[in-house]
């Protein structure tokens, strides 16, 4: 039972059972006992500096990543060079699922602030899944939720007007931050206006103008990247307003 202190330390450090994100991350909903089984799911951790990429579109796929802390954007680059932001990811969220289908990543994941991820070799995820039903179930749920999330964005882009999209974006951000114990009403945007615009299918000028308009309407307060939500109900009303009758 005795083992070198250093090895113990390392295992502790990368063990899901010791992680304060276990309520949000892959092992969500597992009992303490079950969690022990996952303690060798993570092979190692990796720090990514702001502006650096965890992986690029086209690179071979080998592992999934769980955000430990920090903030990421995922981008897709089309044949003719246009770049589209396809998502933003924060602590506890899973990255890299796009790579499973074709053994290569299709999108690029870039840190928007200094971040750290848990590296989970995909072969290990599949092995453990086969032998451990709760992990299998949960992994399938995570994959499915990513599909549902993407379909939500499709609805956003396909059938909502610019102001509705931005309101929905702010409400979503606020909810995800709340789930992580941050303030629901006051936060710092990690991304630029351009990145928000790309994600929401509009130009950065439109994002900026809408922020200003929301401020005039006393829905939010904005100073550069600092946002304070004053009237979350109002934002929800904006995002739900089917274009009113003339």
């Amino acid at each position: 039972m005795t083992e070198p202190a250093l090895a113990t330390l390392t295992r502790l450090r990368t063990a899901c059972s010791q992680c304060n994100l276990r309520e949000l991350c892959l092992p969500m909903g597992l009992s303490a006992d079950e969690l022990q089984t996952l303690d060798n799911l993570v092979s190692t951790r990796r720090k990514v500096r702001r502006g650096d990429s965890l992986f690029y579109g086209g690179e071979p796929f080998s592992a999934l990543y769980a955000v430990r802390y920090g903030f990421f954007k995922s981008t897709l680059t089309s044949g003719d060079g246009r770049e589209q932001v396809t998502g933003f990811y924060m602590a506890g969220e899973l990255l890299g699922m796009d790579g499973i289908g074709g053994d290569r990543h299709t999108c690029t994941l870039t840190a928007l602030e200094d971040s750290e991820v848990c590296v989970m070799p995909f072969a290990r995820v599949e092995d453990l899944s086969r032998n451990f039903e709760p992990l299998q179930r949960h992994f399938h749920r995570v994959l499915s939720r990513e599909i549902v999330r993407d379909q939500g964005v499709m609805m956003l882009l396909g059938s909502m007007r610019a102001e509705e999209r931005l309101a929905a974006f702010l409400v979503n951000l606020s909810q995800r931050l709340t789930a992580r114990g941050f303030s629901a009403s006051e936060f710092v945007l990690r991304m630029t206006r351009d990145e928000i615009g790309s994600y929401l299918g509009m130009k950065l000028e439109t994002v900026s103008r809408l922020f200003s308009r929301f401020q005039e309407d006393a829905l939010i307060e904005v100073h550069q990247k600092h946002v304070r939500i004053l009237d979350i109900g109002g934002l929800k009303r904006v995002m739900a307003q089917a274009q009113s009758a003339p």
Copy 2:
């Protein structure tokens, strides 16, 4: 080893190993031997008449479905009643993956022509996956590809102009039909202009006008739902044209 003739017949009829879609569907890439293992994956088949729905958003989730023949659309309805088409599905494609994450379907699947699906109880999919690595691998790939597909649509909606989107849509349809042994250049649209428009984030009038313009430009021939592609290269050029300099 002997069993009633009827049971044998039934098993044959629903057996993946006997299905001519095995190259496209869930068992894709499995060897003949391996395929035998899947022969009890499908519990039954279900016919869906044109206009009827396989399942509705909000319904409890219990099974995945593989399209045997026919054509489906998936739609999402937002709180305020707006409907967004999130995808079109044809033979060999998998339906219902949105339901895994929350034990309820989030979207509604409606047949656009008389169709038939193979019903695969999800518990069975997970059981077989745990004991049969090739199925597990392939199932994960299918889930991942759905994510990648959705991200492609996000790029479409977020950063392409109407004519580029419609061109991309036609090219995509043509490719999928080709993979199924149909003509790449001549086909019948199963969906209305309104449904195409919803999927592509534009109004039906715009779809109609663009079809007419493509016809003027000798890229396609349209008569109602009948489409003939005259210049697939031209369509690809349209969809890739980053807005040209003035």
